[in-house]
Symmetry: C2
Subunit: 248 residues, 2 copies
């Protein structure tokens, strides 16, 4: 059912880029502008999208869309409840921003963010997707994935986010081995040009790395040594969250 595929793709795109207009949607999806326009009218008639409150020319998701799939968040809600208090501890002891993300196929999505004492210039917005291979969040999960899934995450052409982003398959695999050994992952200017991060994977009851937490900060405030020093802290926090999931 082609129209349904188009509609779902457009809904997801609006979720990532709202507010957004017809032409941009057509460009990003590869659909003809006519088709995109028709789909938008349909979504609007169904009440899933509406003209943006501030930018009336473009489209945003409506509350109805949120309510329709709200129950799908039961899983992330449990995770959220287990992780939040521990993330607060991490934020208080380090003073830096703490992130919580889940994996979906070969991307990750940010579920929660606690801002540090000095708020970041470009805070990563909630629900925004990001690459697995360039973030400490993503690499901590990749390191513990089974080979088949790892393959499906890495066989595409990996986007280069900054000059430091590792896009070479062998280099990434080598780093994942280090990550696997020490339990935490790092990202030094690999996702944003002036930001370092350190992250650790959270495991569900079957032991799969379905989520991750990380600390991220500007390079001039937190250098690579500091990230590595914080590593064990994150490993311990992630383990406590994982335990909270299996019990709860």
């Amino acid at each position: 059912m082609r129209p349904v595929h188009s509609a779902l793709e457009i809904v997801a795109l609006i979720g990532q880029r709202q507010p957004i207009g017809v032409s941009a949607i057509a460009r990003d999806t590869g659909l003809p502008k006519t088709t995109a326009h028709r789909v938008l009218q349909t979504l609007h008639a169904a009440g899933w999208i509406e003209p943006d409150a501030n930018d009336g020319a473009n489209w945003s998701l409506s509350i109805r869309a949120a309510l329709a799939v709200g129950s799908a968040q039961r899983s992330t809600r449990q995770l959220h409840g287990a992780a939040f208090p521990i993330m607060e501890e991490l934020r208080n002891t380090t003073g830096e921003s703490v992130y919580l993300a889940v994996r979906d196929a070969d991307t990750l999505a940010l579920i929660e963010r606690l801002d540090g004492r000095n708020p970041l210039a470009h805070a990563w917005p909630l629900w925004q997707r990001g690459p697995l291979h360039a973030t400490s969040l993503g690499k901590s999960m990749l390191a513990h994935l089974d080979p088949a899934e790892l393959e499906s995450c890495l066989n595409a052409t990996l986007p280069r986010m900054t000059r430091q982003t590792k896009t070479d398959r062998a280099a990434i695999e080598a780093e994942l081995a280090v990550t696997r050994a020490r339990g935490f992952a790092t990202s030094f200017r690999e996702n944003w040009p002036n930001e370092n991060g350190v992250g650790a994977a959270i495991r569900n009851s079957r032991g799969e790395p379905t989520a991750a937490i990380s600390i991220s900060a500007p390079v001039d405030r937190v250098d690579e040594a500091q990230c590595i020093a914080w590593g064990p802290l994150l490993v311990a926090a992630a383990r406590r969250i994982s335990l909270g999931l299996t019990r709860g």
Copy 2:
């Protein structure tokens, strides 16, 4: 685009009733079973639904669905943040369950629930929709709606939830007048046969009643007099939440 409408309707239905199978979906939407089946296959291929983890024969929404529209929750997230601490206060002072809901067209959806000291036998699940006219949550919002919207909410045939549900238009309007005057709404066995409730509306920055909080409890523990006595408490709490929204 008929297929898109069907797909969105089915997604919303699964969100309300998951896990659910093809036949039940076909019944509830009025679609032929063949069409429902085809839509489900399409949604599955797109990754929005998956066979339920416990009940493999039926379908549930996937995490991908939640992530796709996650950003639509920005609005409810702000509300949630403003309401949560005040709801906790209410729960602690009364010891009963506290609810937070938003309105969508002529229904309401539960966004947050804090269980009281004695958990209810049939707790209302999060994200579950309910009727406006039979709940204190709904009536508190209806009372402050502008006439046009009120009309669109009440002109359909109002479902009778219990023997005490008021479905007569004149009776409802009369009660809304009382509600408007005193600032809070009540529901005595009108939504569940053995439950009383009292609620107050939360207003957004434009003064519109977009959400509501309520306290609900079994009739043998909380009688009608107790609900009315708690009324001013809820009005004060709702006002504080409203102020938190306009400032935040």
